[in-house]
Symmetry: C2
Subunit: 229 residues, 2 copies
């Protein structure tokens, strides 16, 4: 097994190896060298498939959005979310947002993926198109639909980033349970009391419900209320 054009890998195979690494060892493990190693390649061979690491990550993002498109069109075909008007628009956006969250939230480092790329591939654009269609069918003109789409995109991205970062830290803490969290940190010296924040910390809200609630409230502001609501 030396030089020569032995076998030729497909992008799908490379991305599959990259996602395996992402799932198993987190975002930092998705390195050019790491993916190459998992495929039995030299790091430099990767550069015949992708011009740089960014392009590899962009390919992964596109694949995630591709799965999302499949998941939501399947749901559309068998569900009632293709309904017209504000209620239909609401249901379609909520379904898209939830599906996107489901795809990202338990993949450590998937957010790093999203931030590393422009989100302008065809599959990402397809999701935009679906959101824009939902909002225009909900009565918004294109300019408002564009802003609404961006608001949803941004909200979901932020929510997933938040939950994923928390989950990643939890995994990390479980692997290395050394520092017992030092109850009173000496790094910050000026202690204050935050009555509301302290009490809210004990609420322990369910992340899934909290996410859905946030998207619903955003939709309350983005879409005029449905007549039947």
């Amino acid at each position: 097994m030396r030089p020569g054009p032995r076998r030729s890998l497909t992008h799908a195979e490379i991305l599959a190896a990259a996602f395996e690494l992402l799932e198993a060892k987190g975002f930092d493990a998705v390195s050019v060298r790491g993916v190459a190693g998992a495929l039995g390649l030299t790091p430099t061979a990767m550069y015949t498939y992708y011009p740089n690491k960014q392009a590899l990550l962009a390919g992964m993002v596109e694949q995630v959005f591709g799965r999302l498109a499949i998941a939501t069109t399947a749901a559309d075909a068998s569900g009632s979310s293709a309904a017209e008007g504000v209620a239909g628009a609401r249901a379609r956006v909520l379904a898209l947002a939830t599906a996107l969250r489901d795809l990202l939230v338990d993949r450590p480092g998937a957010v790093g993926l999203l931030l590393a790329t422009p989100l302008d591939g065809p599959n990402a654009t397809r999701v935009d198109e679906e959101l824009l269609a939902a909002f225009t069918s909900g009565g918004l003109d294109l300019a408002a639909a564009d802003r609404a789409t961006h608001a949803v995109r941004v909200h979901v991205l932020g929510a997933v980033a938040f939950d994923a970062a928390r989950a990643a830290r939890a995994v990390e803490a479980a692997v290395q349970p050394e520092a017992p969290a030092a109850p009173s940190e000496t790094l910050w010296d000026d202690l204050e009391s935050f009555p509301l924040a302290d009490r809210s910390r004990e609420l322990d809200d369910d992340p899934v419900e909290r996410f859905a609630w946030g998207v619903e409230r955003l939709l309350d502001g983005l879409l005029v209320p449905a007549p039947d609501r």
Copy 2:
């Protein structure tokens, strides 16, 4: 200049050097070695101040939230945003969100900072406290205020992440204007047409206005409409 306990740096001096690096060369330049070098230290000396890189980044995040607290309390003292009721709550949240965006958006990589840390330092908690106070004064109970606070936090984080990532890529492209963006990418083969997405891409919305609009719409959903509105 060799070993020995010559001078002792303060955390403030170290963080100042770190922020200089962040501003000048982006998030990737904020390395343990880089900051140490800027201070005339050996990388290993950094570990007497912070147990690891995470702690350094957490210190930077706390400082950003500290500036935010100062900026908004100053605005509160001289402005009308301390008004009561829904309108006052609305104004306070919008002011906080805008101030946070202003602090983060043109610092390349500041978002990486936020995602790298738990956002549980005292200054970050103070911002939470202010948001919770605004929402409870707007008529929400603590559980609802907690969810509303999280929704705002998530929305701002996502929006800043999005705009900052775009800006970072623009800077990068300006520094290295080699690849002419290849009008028809060969990486993605199945071309489709996205009429709405294509048209919306030409809108070229102002990011600042778009952000404010999004936060306002979110607030529309979070707070019941003011009587005078």
